[in-house]
Amino acid sequence: MGCGVSKSDQFHKHSGKAIRAAVLIQRWYRQYVARAEMRRRYTWHIFQSIEYSGEQAQIKLYNFLGYLMDNFTPASNERNLISHIFRENEVCRDAEWERYFCYKNIEVPEIYSGPHLFFPLTVEQAVGLVEAFRNKKQLHSRYVLQLLAETWKLFRMMPNINRISTCQSKEITICGDLHGQLEDLLLIFYKNGMPSLEKPYLFNGDFVDRGKDSIEILIILFAFLLVYPSEVYLNRGNHEDHIVNLRYGFTKEVLTKYKMHGKRILKLLQKIFSWLPLATVIDQKVLVLHGGISDTTDLGVLTRVDRHNYVSALRPPKKRHIISTGTSIDSDVDEDVWGTNKSFQRRASLIYPQPLGTRGSFHNRSLQDFSDRIRGKEEDDLEARKRRQSVFINRSTEKETTLTVSTDSDSSDNIRDEWKQILDLLWSDPMSQDGCVPNEVRGGGCYWGPDVTEDFLNRHNLQLIIRSHECKQEGYEFCHNRKVLTLFSASNYYDVGSNRGAYVKLGPDLVPYMIQYQATSMTRELTVRQSAGRTERSALKVLREQLFAHKSDLICAFKKYDSNNTGLVSLNDWATAVESVMHLGLPWRMMRGQLVTCKTSDGTVDFNEWFNELAIKRPNTDHIDQSLLETLYRHRSTLETIFRIVDTDNSGFITIEDFRQTWKLLSVYLKMEITDEAISDLSVTIDRNQDGSIDIDEFMEAFRLTDKKSRLERGRSMFMGTATDLTKLDEDPNI
């Protein structure tokens, strides 16, 4: 029919039809795009709410442990566990540290095929490390320790705030969060070139956690730092913190990769993290820091603090004793309390400005409140220290001991103020409204508004703040009248296809120029549509897990709407009840199609049936109380964190006794009744080889949520897409 007719003839003849057809397709396409955008938004919202509520949970946990410190009674069992938790490798002189971190005895075997390092490092070796890691090699622990030791020496010479300039028309490249995603760092080096004398780099914190190659990223960054100390700059992020690392994967990664020397590596890293500079100022005009600012941020104060006292931003600072010999002793505030003051009693309101309140209230407190307790503690500490002091004076032959902490309240205020400054710097987020309020979502730092930015920039004579800390879909985002730039360099952060990463180039004109990218090895075979679909499925899976984990609370909430005990609630009530329990601020109504399939014809929801849909399947759990299992599941992150804290020698194992103690702690935290019998049952199941110790990883791996809906979806996805894509979906264990 169409053979001999010329294209333009045919076109003319059918033009009306052709146009109509085109319009039809275009309409449908635009509808598809709008719906996809909608789903992308709530998918994002799901991941972000869960991420932030995880961070909040972490901080709450720490508050809780601090609360316990104040409220234990000398006779209780918990005391041992807590002192066990808080005691670190305590009083140690520098010389002892050096011996502890010595790498010289570590032999590198013949068969080792990874890179060898010879100090002082050369650029060829740094580049060699990048290549080696690209080829999945691992650096031997001897070299790791050596590298870290050299890095530590270097950081100790750096100020809190680095000041650099873009003179000689050098452009500086600034990168945001990397979170252990080596692929993104490799992509940046590929696109932008590696650090060199002509190519300075600044990395803005959060190098570790979540991704699987955190240690490799650190090694690369430190290597280039050692080769080009004036061209490579690192700022501290809130994840450069061993307490956060316990929860978010870095600790686990190091222990897994370095079975023999992992503990030492982690210890040394703890020190290095505390010595990381806090911020960088470029050309006296652009401030680069990880989290943000607050209405009290003062660069003057930040310049003066002893930053290495803040090993973790989540805990009050360490105290330093300086003895005549010039060496120093690091000890924990807590150490003093536990070590010497056996008859510690909680003092009355003289010391504590306000009453501590009931057990429940600590859940709502932010770290700011926690700092109130430090003030009180110091007074007690001083007493304890005086007692110690006398012992030291007797031993020392020359000058008397000097205390860096004095008794008057000025100094405790100082410490508190300093702590807040650092916390704000590492944890804050910008908001669109004016003002400055505590950041309750994350649990630390604050939300600061455009007026605070304006005021801060004026006061310090700056023109731009570059920060990271928040994932952005395009890898970067301006706010506050383009005076604040958020920069995020970990692409596909929430899931494959979720976001791009970006880095910034800043020349002498100080106008930021953004380059975006997205690591694609996982997405290569998937279309845009499929990768967006994957992310959505992933988010929904995570959400379903969360919902299941709150089953009892949800059932309670539903029952309130079901006065006739029919087991049914209306859609409206379902959405309201779910939000009242989950507090995630998600558009539940919009997502109900994905979350609930068992609707009756009149649009009501059979909630018991719904939970059957979401059920957890796990072998051999029938004899364990279901609500206990649910609690375990819901708080698995917290549980894992506590385990790792308890496992002070970082061996990956804890004893049955510690396990029991941990459970008791958790039950107090959750205000739940857990019988000893239930705990024993659990311990027995988990200690598979009955040797009295529990493998933490094995325990945590046992939680896998498989539910009918996911299986159905896997089936459905087989029918979508073209033949080439199906095989990829098939192999993917995440689907």
């Binding site: 169409g2 319009v23 275009q26 309409r27 396409y29 919202h45 845009v528 558009p587 919009m590 649009g603």
Partner: protein, 186 residues
């Protein structure tokens, strides 16, 4: 200027819009719309509306530019011309600055929902058959791309690319029945 002049981009409008092909289409009057949505539906729309609301204080307002997207996200598929019409034919610069509150949006949405002729599967296939030169159930991908980018309410190159990604077989042909199913399956 000419009395009979149509306001919209000319040939694009006739196909599916609710207003018949008259030389002059009347202004859209929101007060003339009676709402027929159920309370349940209205709650649903509120949820979605909130997701699009980007005002700093959550004032339940969206920009004119977002209106079309929201209507489409809720399941309708109006043409751009129809959207401009129900918004009262705003100037291009108004699209990002003028706001709609929820009630105004509801009227607009209701009006669009009442419109008939949304395009069935058959309409679609018929439309694509126009480009099926050999009458064998397939169209040339290249031709389709060209059409989508040059006719009707033109799509941008990247939009065309996204739509057509992985749809063509090794010869560059698309089986249009499958293609239509694919588009309508979102």
């Amino acid at each position: 200027m000419a009395p009979k002049k149509k306001e919209e981009p000319k040939p694009a409008a006739p196909v599916a819009p609710p207003e018949p092909e008259r030389p002059k289409t009347p202004e859209f009057d929101p007060t003339s719309v009676t709402l027929e949505f159920t309370p349940e539906q209205i709650e649903d729309f509120k949820d979605s509306f909130q997701l699009f609301d980007r005002t700093p204080a959550n004032e339940m307002k969206i920009t004119y530019a977002q209106c079309g997207d929201l209507i489409r996200a809720l399941g309708q598929n109006p043409t751009n011309a129809e959207i401009i019409h129900v918004l009262g034919k705003p100037k291009p610069e108004d699209m990002q600055t003028k706001m709609l509150d929820f009630d105004q949006f509801l009227s607009i949405h209701q009006h669009i929902c009442k419109a008939k002729n949304r395009g069935t599967y058959e309409d679609f296939v018929e439309g694509l058959r126009v480009f099926d030169k050999e009458g064998n159930g397939s169209v040339m991908g290249a031709e389709l791309r060209h059409v989508l980018a040059t006719l009707g309410e033109k799509m941008r190159e990247d939009e065309v690319e996204q739509l057509m990604q992985n749809q063509e077989d090794p010869n560059g042909c698309i089986n249009y029945e499958a293609f239509v199913k694919y588009i309508m399956a979102s």
